[in-house]
Amino acid sequence: MVPFKLDYLDLLESESIHIMREVAGQFERPALLFSGGKDSITLVQLALKAFKPGKIPFPLVHIDTGHNFPEALAYRDRLVAETGAKLIVRYVEDTIKARGLKEPVGKFASRNALQAYTLLDTIEEFGFDACIGGARRDEEKARAKERIFSVRDEFGQWDPKKQRPELWNLYNGKIHKGENVRVFPISNWVEIDVWNYIKREGIDLPEIYFSHDREVLVHNEHLVAVSPFIRIDDGDVIVTKRVRYRTVGDMTCTAAVESTATTIDDIVAEINLTSISERGETRIDDQVSEAAMEDRKKNGYF
């Protein structure tokens, strides 16, 4: 007899809602880090569900590198208008100027690593004690070992050896002044779970997730959108391709994939068939070394 059986997406959703509510219950000033990508969009939907009929009891924070896809920004503003969520935007550009940071140079110079500075300043400015993020453990090796409640010191550093054991579904969010906790409610979701959930729930996404024609630079089998933020050299191969984005980060470090998928069903079907991992196909910034992510996380990266 199986009277009460839940689908795996219901189980994942319930776990994530439980985590969202733990954040609201345990912390005084939490925030949800919003990037405009599908994972943080999913987080917002989960937060809406967790606190219905009330509003989300914390602001969305966007750390704007200035290298966003315009479609992602438009989506962000639409989402905020529709949900009544509070939005805080802080700019990496401002941090660079104020702190005299050196911008990386090179062909696909990315502000990805500089984001950590703006994030830490923003945490300090608002006194955030918890930051909810959309990282998943299946994304990368260093993520596979991170806790759902990940304590960071006042420099935002992740120390894998000092992680708190996380037993049952008990989350210890006790911290000292100056420390903060990064919380990952969709830790146990993998890429296809997110897509299946978006499909099931009918969640609206930025247009760039669907197939469109775009001018791209072909670099080591990666298709990088032509934009003012990347350097075009003589001899670069620029072509127009029918593409979509599998992840949405900065224009400088996110690659497109060739695709004719125009609906969410098409995308789910493609992801089910793909032979390349999400980060491998779309992130230019993880290719540097085997421990690239581990290093960035130790420096306060999300």
Binding site: F4, L11, P53, A142, K145, N169, S277, G280
Partner: protein, 413 residues
């Protein structure tokens, strides 16, 4: 499609990482680029064609030392199920990691090296599995190739282990002979062991009944957060947000709010903002009650007829995870779901030898990775069930009062 969380217990030497790599590889969960990265590393380390164990290597420190320090979570799915693997190290100095991984698991795979049989480590892993009350136990007898796929060796191990399992009061155990290096009996049945007519490991993982592990008879609802929109149209709305950890709740149920013993009746149940007549574990829900009573985070809403224990003094078995030892008279914070109370360790009753189950008394302090039985007194009442009867409401953690680190996992009652 549903979900199964399991833990693998064993050491690198037992082929644990290879087994996990094999499960991921044979179910198509490893993508081409990840495979290439592993191939590259296999070459760098001077090993053969491809080292499946590298799929589970995480941090650089671990790669450099060739060990696993921490629990890593890995994912794969088949058409039937999504699987979450807690990959925990097996050595005695990492007992706390194994306890952590085991706490969330519904199934444990205990790896036994066919050459060594039931070893001290096997006994320790089994004791931890029985302490944590993991519902399903699979003994994977690995490296069958090293014993010429011998049925006699396998049945000998089954007999030895079954004897030990009976002594420990362990429930049903499933035995599967494997060779994870070549994939025998992992996803596909082995042609080299025709004498084995049982299921493959993946078959078992896909079909083991996990819904029956959920308790639908003892309703427990720890309140996490009170939703009070205080808007014009929802002026008097007051909803208690939480997760039903066990049992079911129906509109009209008579309920008690513990520890204060306030009585009321369920007026409305909402899931994702929509009213439902009934909700069940493990759904996240919002409960609204008929009476306007004072309920806050940390309270537990249960039904009249089946109540948990509400007490300030109790015994617990614990696994110590702190670097500073536990001593009688020490004070900690005890967290059980959303409730956090101060507590003092009144007495250390005994320390359990995890290799022999021997109880050592007259112990003055408990160190990292020790398992002990203690008497606890709390400043405020705790609402719990005996861990061995209702696992989801019997597991708690101890938190250091000033460092705020998690220092113990407790199986209450």
């Amino acid at each position: 499609m549903d979900l199964l969380r399991f833990i693998t217990a064993g050491s690198v030497d037992d082929g644990k990482s290879t087994l996990i790599g094999r499960l991921l590889y044979d179910t198509g969960s490893i993508k081409v680029d990840q495979l290439q990265a592993i191939k590259k590393q296999s070459k760098n380390k001077g090993e053969g064609e491809i080292d499946l164990a590298l799929f589970t290597d995480g941090l650089r420190a671990e790669r450099e030392q060739g060990i696993t320090i921490d629990v890593a979570y890995k994912y794969f799915s088949t058409g039937k199920r999504k699987f979450i693997i807690a990959d925990a190290p097996g050595h005695i100095q990492y007992t706390r990691n194994m306890v952590t991984g085991a706490s969330n698991s519904e199934l444990i795979i205990i790896l036994v090296d066919a050459r060594n049989g039931v070893a001290e480590q096997t006994r320790r892993h089994t004791i931890i599995a029985s302490l944590l009350k993991i519902p399903h136990v699979v003994v994977a007898v690995n490296k069958m190739d090293m014993v010429n796929y011998s049925e006699t060796v396998f049945t000998g191990i089954v007999a030895d282990y079954s004897l030990m399992a009976r002594q420990l009061g362990l429930g049903e155990v499933t035995f599967i002979p494997l060779n994870s290096l070549d994939g025998d009996n992992i996803v596909t049945a082995s042609a080299k062991m025709p004498w084995y007519t049982g299921v493959t490991l993946l078959d078992f993982l896909e079909n083991v009944n996990v819904v029956e592990d959920i308790n639908f008879t003892e309703p427990r609802f720890p309140v996490q957060y009170v939703i009070r929109p205080q808007s014009e149209d929802l002026h008097d709305y007051r909803g208690y947000a939480g997760k039903i950890i066990s049992g079911t709740y129906k509109k009209g149920d008579r309920v008690v709010v513990l520890p204060d013993e306030l009585y009321s009746e369920i007026d409305v149940i909402e899931i994702n903002g929509e009213e439902v007549a009934e909700a069940f574990a493990p759904q996240s829900a919002v409960l609204r009650l008929k009476d306007d009573i004072d309920i806050a985070r940390g309270d537990v809403i249960v039904t009249h007829d089946k109540q948990p224990v509400t007490t300030r003094e109790f015994e617990t078995t614990l696994c110590w995870m702190g670097s500073k030892p536990l001593a009688e008279g020490n004070k900690y914070l005890l967290q059980l779901h959303s409730r956090v109370v101060r507590c003092v360790i009144k007495e250390i009753l005994y320390k359990l030898d995890v290799n022999t189950l021997e109880k050592q008394t007259n112990i003055s302090s408990i160190g990292l990775n020790d398992i002990a039985r203690v008497l606890v007194k709390t400043a405020d009442p705790v609402v719990f069930d005996n861990y061995s009867e209702l696992r989801v409401n019997g597991g708690a953690i101890l938190i250091d009062e000033t460092a705020y680190t998690t220092v113990a996992g407790c199986m209450l009652g």
